[in-house]
């Protein structure tokens, strides 16, 4: 087999394992354990980026994704978009690809992150379905706990709860690993095919993502005069800036 191809395959698989390994643990904070906001895109992106060789790229990705789905609330049985998993995937891929470049410039990195943000938005419905699948899988835990209670093993019945952590972790790991392998095989050649002139657009394009997130947040907060308060503050800030 071609040594170059083997090296590329090893890079793809090992990088995907790194993204999945770190990402699946971060994803636990979202629902299963803590809700300490380690799972927020800004934090999750930075941590994943750091693990994949470029914390700054991870931070850039997290900042772009932070506001997009912030108003989707996990109320009752409503499943919001899993922006943690989407961020981990996007930040992990961006950091891995950037870290492999000899001299990555900020504009090229921003363009790559913008493309990954678009991919993340497209994958949003899938992230909700995956979360839904874990919660269906957890249904079995109730049956198992009740069976163990009947079998006079209350300690083990209580401990069944911890298997839920494994479910959340396992689903996230498998999804991130699969998506990581596919994306790392496709993205680098696709990205190099983009004319370098377009790369200059990266920073303003990423800023528009943040602006779209701001619009989404303001729209979803449902507070009276929100637009007027926002516009007034923005005008005042701009005047002070001048």
């Amino acid at each position: 087999m071609n040594p170059g191809l083997v090296e590329t395959l090893v890079w793809i698989v090992s990088s995907a394992f790194r993204i999945a390994g770190v990402g699946a643990v971060i994803c636990l904070d979202r629902t299963a354990w803590g809700q300490l906001m380690i799972s927020r895109p800004l934090v999750a992106g930075t941590l994943t980026g750091a693990a994949c060789g470029s914390a700054a790229t991870g931070l850039l990705t997290g900042a772009a994704l932070e506001l997009l789905w912030l108003t989707e609330l996990p109320v009752g049985s409503t499943i919001p978009t899993d922006d943690t998993m989407l961020t981990v995937l996007a930040a992990g891929l961006a950091a891995t690809i950037t870290a492999r470049q000899p001299n990555p410039d900020p504009e090229t990195t921003a363009t790559l992150v913008f493309l990954l943000v678009i991919a993340a938005i497209l994958l949003a419905p899938l992230s909700r379905r995956l979360d839904d699948a874990v919660r269906h899988r957890n249904r079995q835990l109730i049956t198992d706990a009740e069976t163990l209670l009947l079998a006079a093993a209350p300690h083990r019945a209580a401990a069944v709860h911890l298997r839920g952590l494994l479910h959340f972790w396992g689903y996230a790991f498998a999804a991130l690993l699969g998506a990581g392998v596919v994306a790392l095989a496709i993205l680098p050649p696709l990205f190099t095919a983009i004319p370098t002139g377009i790369h200059a657009l990266g920073p303003p394009l990423l800023t528009t993502v943040m602006l779209a997130g701001t619009a989404s947040l303001l729209s979803g907060m449902h507070q009276r005069h929100a637009v007027a308060v926002f516009a007034g503050t923005a005008l005042l800030t701009s005047l002070v800036w001048l």
Partner: protein, 252 residues
Amino acid sequence: MHTVIRHPRLETRIFLRSLGWQASWNYARMQGLGLAYAIYPLLEQRYGSDGEPLRRQMKKYLGFFNTNPVMAAAVLGILVNFECHDRGDEGLRLATTLNSLYGAVGDAFFWGGIKPLTAVMALLCYVGGGGWWAPATLLIGYNLVHLGIRWYIYQAGVHHGFEVVELIHRWQLPRVKIAANYLTIVLLGVMVPVAAADRLPALTGSLLPQLGAAGMVIGGIVLLQRKMSLLQLVLAGALLAIILVGIGGGYG
């Protein structure tokens, strides 16, 4: 029945177990198994590590349970208190009533108030050049409120039982949530011009990028209210940015 010895270490253990409250979240009983897991050390202490009384009591805690995971700390505290006073069944009935109330209040306050506020504070730090302080701001800011309230209401529930309900009522969390939302909006009003200043196409010395960015946000709100999707909005914004780059001849 065994004698109850309430001990700070046991209370802390139950609290720590409650942080993983939602690990077994499912559509049938939602957080039911999580509740049973969290309170199990107390049940074991009260009813012994084996035997019919423990199994019977644990079965009761395996029922349907769902509330906001942070406010659940108050309900858990009440349950611990009632269980220690041989009123476990009464505690469970009260918990059923409190679940929906604290679910609504907690979701609105934490997910709809504090989370957006700390996220925007962190983003403002980021666009202002704060670098690594941005994620740190989010983590510290949110958890000061989150863990502070979570621990406090749990302790209040454990030691004062149902009185914690009155305590939480006095905090007026829905009003605090509205104040937090307006503060978030003001911070967004500061953040957008700062973010746009050196990232969007600029005509030196003019207010165009800052006000243009604020205008794009307001336009975005209108489009979202007219059922435009997030993807369409991002792509429309990107197209506009490309046109502005063409007109402005660059950015920065």
